[in-house]
């Protein structure tokens, strides 16, 4: 019977499988350790803990990269994570670089096309319409909050929306540039931290958080990442924190920015779609009407279609480098699930 337990992992076996793969891959990459950008969120925390478990704390380097829109608890939680696993860290404030490169100014310019008063003391975020009750296209809206706390919602023009997103993407890209500075300095590999939902649905910035040398949790559903977090001893405060984008000045859930459902239900729908689970069973497990699940499936397929470009490597006219098959010491089994 399909249920939340379908995604229950054998955490011990899965951690052993991932850490073995990380050790082997590090050797193939001819690097000597791992750099991890720490956000205080569950994904980077589990990725860091896995890296430590794989190669030891001396071979893992954590980086905090706050800027003016970073939430207050990110550094507190990230510091607690680093202390828990004994990882050396540094703080790289990317705010001044973002100012110099024009990230904030270009954001403001785009927002002022619909809210001319936007400026100091104002906050904003981008939200998608809910597809749960009706068949809606993914047309993002801008929500702004005045210094007095008044909130308004606006539809941007395509040009203003694209500029706002492009300017915001500087954040993820500058963070990745910073991670690679330290990776080059130390001879380390960069760990990418997307979970399966993010990777599958293209919830990343190309050459930003989408860039990495290894992505150790990209095959795991978000609820499985939480299972590993508990097994690995990630602090409870991090495990209890609501997943956020931590990208815009107004607090925002990943659900309202990108995913159509809370992560636990998205996990189930994604699994069910890929494994042809009968929709009646999905409805029972998610407590959603079948009509809604069909809309979620359409949304999943639509995002796969429109973000396929993000996954593409640069395209060559013809093959240039001879391919060498990777050397594997042991076969890598599939995700280690709980038997039963």
């Amino acid at each position: 019977m399909f249920s939340r337990d379908t995604l229950r992992l054998n955490a011990e076996a899965e951690v052993a499988r991932i850490t073995s793969w990380l050790r082997e891959t590090l050797g193939q990459l001819h690097r000597r350790g791992f750099v991890v950008g720490l956000s205080g969120g569950i994904d980077s925390s589990v990725s860091c803990a896995l890296a430590v478990r794989a190669v030891g704390k001396e071979r893992v380097f954590g980086i905090f990269m706050p800027e003016k829109d970073t939430s207050d608890d990110a550094l507190v939680l990230g510091t607690k994570l680093a202390a828990t696993f004994g990882v050396e860290t540094t703080i790289e404030n990317i705010g001044p670089a973002l100012t110099t490169i024009g990230c904030y100014e270009r954001q403001i310019q785009a927002i002022r096309t619909v809210e001319p008063a936007f400026g100091a003391g104002w906050k904003f975020k981008l939200i998608l319409p809910s597809i749960l009750k009706a068949d809606r296209l993914n047309v993002t809206r801008l929500v702004v909050e005045s210094p007095a706390g008044a909130t308004t919602s606006h539809r941007l023009t395509a040009g203003a929306y694209s500029q706002l997103v492009a300017a915001t993407n500087y954040k993820q890209r500058l963070r990745k540039v910073t991670e690679y500075y330290h990776a080059d300095r130390l001879g380390f590999a960069v760990v990418g931290t997307p979970n399966r939902l993010e990777y599958d649905q293209g919830f990343f910035v190309k050459l930003g958080d989408g860039a990495a040398d290894v992505k150790p949790i990209a095959h795991l559903y978000k609820s499985q990442v939480f299972q590993l977090a508990e097994y690995l001893g990630v602090p409870a405060e991090i495990r209890a924190r609501m997943p956020t984008t931590d990208t815009f000045s107004l607090a925002q859930s990943q659900e309202e920015f990108y995913f159509s459902l809370p992560y636990d239900k998205m996990d189930l729908c994604l699994y069910a779609l890929d494994n042809s689970v009968p929709i009646q069973e999905v409805a029972r497990a998610t407590d959603l009407p079948e009509e809604t699940i069909r809309r979620v499936y359409q949304d999943i397929e639509g995002k796969r279609r429109t973000t396929a470009y993000l996954h593409r490597a640069p395209v060559l006219l013809e093959k240039v480098l001879a391919e060498k098959p990777p050397v594997r010491k042991a076969p890598v089994a599939s995700v280690q699930m709980v038997e039963g």
């Binding site: 319409p129 009706a134 068949d135 809606r136 296209l137 993914n138 047309v139 993002t140 809206r141 539809r155 941007l156 023009t157 395509a158 929306y161 694209s162 639509g302 279609r305 429109t306």
Partner: protein, 90 residues
């Protein structure tokens, strides 16, 4: 120019289709990858500026915007006298 032809010309000019002859009136603009969510905004701006209609949020659905034929039908409904009366009443 006919409305259908105007919409077609906008799509062919504004987006990139390697084979324009593959775009029929019934081609799904989303499923064929011609437009994405940003492209939807561009289509909406085009409709509002060119045909003087106001596209409401609840009208941003595939049934109204996902092909040239659907856009044409949507415009016909929006510009019909009945729709004008409805909007006036609302």
């Amino acid at each position: 120019m006919d409305i259908t032809a105007q919409v077609r010309q906008f799509i062919l000019t504004n987006f990139y289709l390697p084979d324009p002859t593959a775009l029929t009136d019934d081609t799904s603009l989303l499923q064929s990858g011609v437009i994405d969510s940003t492209g939807v905004l561009e289509v909406i701006s085009f409709l509002e500026e060119t045909f003087g209609v106001a596209v409401d949020d609840e009208e941003m659905i595939p049934d109204n915007l996902d092909s040239i034929a659907r856009i044409r039908a949507y415009l016909d409904r929006k510009r019909s006298p009945a729709a004008t009366v409805d909007q006036a009443v609302a």
